[in-house]
Symmetry: C2
Subunit: 383 residues, 2 copies
């Protein structure tokens, strides 16, 4: 159900021939109202894809009636021709729905640096418009997949209202494929400011803490659309919580489907002077290829963790750090602690805990290990 779990939404997914395998590659989600509040968060990469350039401007109205997403081509680094394709895509949806193009969000995913086949794409958009239905969520979630092995959907229920969502991608594990796209829908009656605040809070707690390989995509988009169809105005905190729950669930599905990964690793930094410090330390460890290789090799190599912590500006005493792997405190006071012999790194889930002993803030970054399969998939991929 995902994006059509909430009332007031129709969706579809069709095959337009953009994907070489002939699979579905154009998804459409339409907010049938009565209201159209929307908010979005985009990649912070300065080199953005054309659909991001379009959607960033369009969302400034605080409203969106539809989002059209194509896989099979990221429309990134394709110049004015590529931007024109995005514009035509939005216009096509707008004309069919009798709205302005500015009310249409556009996302693309797939290879970068290559122009999409505009005619094929626009034919697909027409087909998606014709196919949309109130139970089309699963079809849409399938049509946005690239290297994903499973479609990613989530639903959270409030008191008489619903939040649903779909996602594609694997953290940043395949940015050449244009990475992470997320559409969240709700029938709660919220205004644009409430939607925006909830979405920013949710992404900061979830997708922003997913750091699969430190690379930052050109196409990342997280969109929230609210139809108001439930007629219920939820408490802002409850609404934020429901949006966060859907985003967290989708983030964990992205992590679990990371290409070529053997492990999902939660790096929790505790007793930090600030949340920013905790996240800086967690991100630094998550970006250490040596640490990530060690986990792939099932090696409880806490020295590589400390070496990464040491590259940050966070507040801590270098001689007084503790590190646990799967809750075994293998490093105490920056030296050897408990024996790592009991640590079993054969399971997919691995936890790292780093105690900075410098405050009371906590933050967790999720990442994957670095495997030979990762290198294979990201080197053999033909561009």
């Amino acid at each position: 159900m995902s994006v059509t779990a909430a009332k007031g939404f129709s969706a579809s997914g069709v095959a337009a021939g953009l994907k070489s395998n002939g699979g579905p590659d154009v998804a459409l989600v339409v907010n049938d109202g009565p209201s159209h509040a929307a908010a979005a968060v985009f990649t912070s990469n300065r080199c953005k894809a054309n659909p991001v350039l379009w959607s960033e401007e369009a969302i400034k109205s605080g409203s969106a009636v539809a989002v059209v997403i194509n896989s099979g081509g990221a429309n990134c680094y394709t110049g004015p021709e590529g931007f024109a394709t995005t514009h035509h895509t939005a216009e096509t949806v707008a004309t069919a729905l009798g709205i302005g193009a500015i009310d249409v969000q556009v996302c693309s995913t797939g290879l970068i640096g290559l122009l999409n086949d505009r005619d094929a794409l626009l034919s697909g958009v027409h087909a998606a418009l014709a196919a949309r239905s109130t139970d089309g969520g699963a079809a849409a979630a399938t049509a946005i997949m690239t290297t994903d092995t499973v479609a990613k959907e989530s639903v959270s229920h409030g008191d008489g209202w619903t939040v649903g969502g779909m996602a594609k991608g694997a953290g940043m594990l395949a940015p050449a494929l244009a990475t992470m796209l997320v559409v969240v829908t709700t029938d709660a009656d919220v205004d644009a400011d409430t939607a925006n605040a909830a979405l920013r809070s949710a992404t900061a707690q979830t997708f922003d803490r997913l750091d699969s390989d430190g690379c930052q995509s050109t196409n990342d988009t997280v969109l929230l659309m609210a139809s108001g169809a439930s007629g219920i105005k939820p408490d802002a905190a409850a609404f934020t919580e429901a949006v966060t729950a859907v985003c967290r669930d989708l983030a964990m599905q992205l992590l679990a489907d990371a290409e070529g990964a053997d492990h999902e690793i939660a790096i929790e930094v505790v007793n930090a002077a600030s949340v920013d410090d905790a996240l800086e330390v967690g991100r630094s460890v998550a970006r250490s290829n040596l640490f990530k290789c060690a986990i792939f090799g099932k090696d409880p190599n806490w020295g590589r963790i400390l070496a990464s912590v040491g590259t940050t500006q966070a507040a801590f005493d270098p001689a007084n750090l503790d590190v646990a792997l799967n809750n075994v405190w293998v490093c105490r006071n920056s030296g050897p602690g408990e024996s790592p012999d009991s640590i079993d790194l054969s399971q997919r889930a691995v936890s790292v805990t780093i105690d900075l002993k410098s405050g009371s803030a906590t933050g967790t970054i999720w990442t994957n290990d670095l495997t030979q399969a990762y290198v294979h998939e990201n080197s053999a991929y033909s561009s």
Copy 2:
């Protein structure tokens, strides 16, 4: 010859049983004078190994008579016991030479988090003291190797004076093995300030621009010792140039010997607003696993380069970047340029040129590709 190429130096390399393979693992280089000016540059990692903690303090005098280096154990994250081992090592050399311990630099390389066998190490130090000779440079260069496949030595001649050096490591490709150690010697008659200025200039232009995997070691040390034995006081610029030449040669040897790498990649950033901007952009690309995997796969994937450039704060117009691979301008104005079909990435040497069109500064970062062999070596390594 390397560290004994310049007059006034004796060196040795002996087997002390620290390495499991029984190979030479203790190196000694002694400055027999008449002068003892010295300078050093250490890792900027805040979590430093014990020998770095020692040597950083000792070098503040601007003088060093000897450096003792062990492989087979990094003495890192080993607490007060480990620091005591470093101290004993320095004292042992000092007593034998009739100098103060503060005049002895200590370096260690090998596994981290494990205490070295102090008795074996000190026996090795005694043996190294007994074995030193004015043609012991090659033995010393061999004794500092860990996963290096070849010993790394270099010599540069001035007008009546000489600079020589040895190095171990592979950029940051094996920080669990404590990475990069460099000893440069000269018989030029320079004071500590001149030595310090020359070394900092040289490392900034060479080792600091080597970024194999973005990881930063806990033990990195680059040491320069001047004996004055030539009796010649060179021009500061000529001296800096000679030190830089030796450092550059050693840096390129480190890059070429990077574990598991198939390619050496020079990332030159041109027309940057500042050298800092150029280096920030180069480093960002050098740290992109996706870019590094693409080069391993011989894939001229310029989109991954642009995506990395976009994550920096450097001055540029995201819509107006040019990128060349092996001098073919595959990206013009942030869109497709010349056909990449003629690009041959089968050679080890790969050049990337990024034109920021925002100034006149240039900077180059050297890195390696990311290979399945890298993952294997850094995951299978037992700690």
